[in-house]
């Protein structure tokens, strides 16, 4: 098990290094169209061939990983903070505050988020750069994705508030921020980290789903989601296995996160 964790860490470290060095490793810009060689097979010039518009697949994969694997953790951090705030407040105060927070959580859980995302995207200004567009997409994912995590945090906080050591701390005069800082947050750390790690692959896949609907990252910026859209063409896929690499990368990265997540859960 330890060996697998080491491999997962190495994979994630390599992934991080690769996306940081994308501009050096890519043989061409992700948007550059080599119009004389569309749908080319892998070659020395294009290690993964070119896509339908003649763009270098390797460059697009590197930059796509950079987009998805940078913004997904940021969105996950945002959603974890929100979940910690709402869930923590609900668990700490209890009573009507808890009921109000749970109502809010239930409301967010019942929202058909896909339609909401499509609607929000439709009302956004059209003349925004692809970078701004993808940032907004992930920000929305972060904003809408906290409710399930908040429920877990709320439950954890409630349990902690009933625990003996918190009773003793309160009897000793601890209250407010001091109680939160010294007793609640350290004991909720595991649950919060678990929610953070869970959210990263969820958001990558959510963006991939939005990309499959044509509503994710705007052209010409690539993302793992937009690269996965090519796999919709099942009829044309068979003789070109290199097209599967974005899917393989997604599986490997998410599996690595999952391996680390199990470790975090054990600690929690």
């Amino acid at each position: 098990m330890k060996g697998i964790r080491v491999i997962a860490i190495v994979v994630l470290a390599l992934t991080a290094l690769t996306i940081l060095a994308a501009s050096h490793l890519a043989p061409a810009g992700y948007e550059q169209q080599f119009r004389e060689t569309p749908q080319a097979a892998p070659s020395a010039h294009h290690p993964l061939g070119t896509d339908d518009l003649g763009r270098d697949r390797w460059a697009r994969l590197l930059y796509g990983m950079r987009v998805s694997l940078t913004l997904a953790p940021l969105a996950a951090l945002f959603t974890t903070v929100l979940a910690g705030l709402v869930g923590g407040v609900a668990g700490y105060f209890g009573g009507w505050t808890e009921r109000c927070c749970k109502l809010l959580i239930d409301l967010f859980l019942s929202v058909p988020w896909l339609f909401l995302l499509i609607t929000v995207r439709a009302v956004l200004p059209l003349n925004v750069s692809p970078e701004a567009s993808v940032t907004v997409t992930f920000a929305l994912l972060g904003l809408l994705g906290w409710a399930a995590s908040a429920r877990v945090i709320c439950s954890g906080a409630k349990d902690l508030m009933k625990s003996e050591f918190v009773w003793m701390a309160r009897a000793s005069g601890f209250s407010g921020m001091k109680l939160v800082r010294l007793h609640l947050l350290p004991n909720l750390r595991g649950a919060l980290l678990a929610q953070f790690w869970i959210s990263i692959p969820v958001f990558i896949i959510a963006e991939a789903n939005l990309g499959a609907l044509g509503l994710g990252v705007a052209e010409p910026l690539p993302s793992l989601g937009s690269l996965l859209r090519e796999l919709q063409e099942t009829v044309t896929l068979r003789p070109e296995p290199w097209r599967l690499l974005p899917l393989a990368v997604l599986i490997v990265v998410i599996s690595s996160f999952q391996v680390l997540l199990k470790k975090q859960e054990v600690r929690a």
């Binding site: 948007e31 609607t119 995207r121 059209l126 692809p130 705007a218 919709q232 063409e233 044309t236």
Partner: protein, 533 residues
């Protein structure tokens, strides 16, 4: 003796051929559930397919020769300058439920069709002026129809009018065409069976159609449809994407490129004065020089070669060159010439500063192109245009929106800058494009619902369109349409990009198929289609 054997063998082979001409179930897919079974209310492609397969029409346009041929009507005569048409009908015909057919049914259908309360788009094509339609049943086999004003392309329009029964208890489900709807499972399939009373016979006197039934499976995903075609589960694909076409070709599946279709793909700028765009952008978009410069900076040849894998041709204008009669052959393709594009822009005060094009006031030229999400070809075209325009310093943002949101922006809020969409031109006669080219029309996309034409060239188009619509003289109409095409070519309110080829797939077991570039491409001669056993 040898000759006798040969004769016997030929007789045997002949009998096999006769067997091959009869029976069987043809299978193909519909992209969606038909929205209606009322042939007078057809607007979507699935309903159009059902209408074609089940509806009996007075006149059928042959998709190979493009000539109107007698169907339920034996003959017809147009008079009063295109205001009156008299049909002589076949006698002794029956609907699929056994109800007899007569001129009263034609009168009933035309009255229904032209009832304004029905809001029939098929009826709109006959409506060239206000006023009521009059029908006069001369005998059970003869009818005269009077329109309030001359109707352009009058005879061919009857190709889309399926004659309803005035008396049948089955109402619109009683069919006069080769098939009738026998079974339907919502969201899954429709089963059409051979109309036992269908009147048409082949040269040998055998009753048509040859097929026993047609099964139409509802299948939204073209990839799955192609896989099913490869497995032999479906026999026809009416529209194949270039990527699937190439794959099926490589797998030796039976696909055909019938040539450039009449469909167009175009880009246009929002010129609506009431749009919430900045004034300087409105000035760009209403400038002919700006639009023509954009047009010249787009490499249409690359769009056809890369996005459509060579199965498209660079578009010239409103009418596809495949529509040979109506196409203005004096027009040439817009050249791909970035130097000329920059010259035109300089005439309007634009200047290139480094990699950025700026207008007279110093605003960087940047706009968005919106298109419908999920249409890979349009997204790819927009991305290639983005790269093309970058070469003349213009920054383009490509935006994909779900179709309803896009439609709302195009028709309600006018909150968009440029849009890339296409038209499916079902009718050959360009009169069907009245709703686009009249400045007062809803579908005059770049500046719809104008109270008075915003520009002199739109006023001239309005005049020409009205003249041709009211004329029964084909030569005069052709002249008017040539001029409309010329104006549209010069002004480019629509920047036409490509005419896609009609790509179809037909299984080798389907006999007598003659694919056409015109809809319905693969089964327009459905009566004579047969399956080899």
């Amino acid at each position: 003796m040898k000759r006798l054997y040969l004769f016997a063998a030929m007789l045997f082979l002949g009998s096999i051929s006769v067997v091959a001409q009869g029976g069987g179930e043809l299978r193909f897919c519909l992209r969606s559930e038909p929205k209606t079974f009322n042939p007078l209310l057809v607007e979507d492609e699935a309903s159009e397919t059902i209408r074609y397969l089940t509806g009996g029409v007075l006149v059928r346009v042959n998709r190979a020769t493009l000539k109107a041929e007698p169907d339920l009507a034996i003959s017809w005569k147009v008079s009063e300058g295109g205001k009156r048409i008299r049909f002589k009908l076949r006698e002794g015909l029956k609907y699929s439920d056994g109800t007899p057919f007569s001129a009263a049914d034609v009168a009933y259908t035309m009255q229904q069709l032209m009832d304004p309360a029905l809001h029939s788009s098929t009826g709109d094509a006959f409506r060239s002026a206000d006023g009521k339609l009059a029908t006069r049943v001369i005998s059970p086999a003869e009818i005269e129809i009077d329109f309030p004003a001359p109707v352009a392309n009058l005879v061919n329009l009857f190709d889309t009018v399926a004659v309803l029964s005035a008396k049948s208890p089955q109402k619109e489900m009683a069919a006069l065409g080769p098939f009738y709807v026998a079974e339907r499972k919502a969201g899954s399939y429709l089963l059409l069976k051979r109309n036992p009373y269908y009147w048409k016979k082949d040269a040998a006197g055998k009753q048509l159609p040859y097929l026993d039934s047609i099964r139409l499976d509802i299948e939204q995903n073209p990839e799955i449809e192609a896989l099913r075609f490869k497995r032999g589960e479906v026999h026809l694909i009416n529209t194949v994407s270039p990527a699937i076409f190439e794959k099926l070709s490589a797998d030796n599946a039976f696909v055909r490129d019938a040539g450039a279709s009449t469909d167009t793909e175009q880009l246009w700028f929002n010129q609506a004065p009431g749009s919430p765009l900045a004034a300087y952008k409105k000035a760009w978009f209403t400038s002919t020089n700006f639009r023509r410069a954009i047009s010249e900076a787009i490499n249409r040849g690359d769009l056809a070669r890369i996005v459509f894998r060579g199965h498209a041709v660079p578009a010239i204008g409103i009418i596809s060159p495949s529509n040979k009669f109506w196409f203005n052959s004096s027009l040439k393709p817009h050249p791909y010439d970035t130097s000329s594009a920059l010259r035109r822009l300089q005439e309007d005060g634009f200047r290139l500063e480094g990699d950025t094009l700026r207008d007279k006031a110093g605003n960087a030229v940047e706009f968005s192109i919106a298109t419908n999400a999920g249409n890979r070809a349009r997204e790819s075209m927009a991305t290639m245009i983005q790269q093309d325009l970058k070469k003349i310093g213009i920054k383009v943002n490509v935006v994909t929106l779900d179709f309803n949101s896009l439609l709302e922006r195009m028709t309600q809020t006018y909150n968009y800058e440029a849009c890339l969409l296409g038209f499916q031109n079902v009718e050959l006669d360009p009169n069907s494009q009245m709703a686009v080219w009249l400045s007062s029309a809803d579908n005059h996309q770049w500046n719809p619902n104008q109270k008075a034409p915003a520009t002199p060239w739109e006023a001239e188009i309005d005049k020409l369109m009205r003249e041709q619509a009211a004329s029964g003289d084909e030569r005069k109409r052709k002249q008017d349409w040539d001029r409309v095409q010329q104006i549209a070519w010069e002004q480019e309110p629509f920047i036409y990009l490509v005419n896609k080829d009609a790509l179809v797939a037909i299984a080798p077991v389907v006999k007598n198929a003659e694919p056409s570039v015109f809809r319905p491409q693969t089964f327009w001669n459905v009566e004579t289609l047969a399956l080899a056993h």
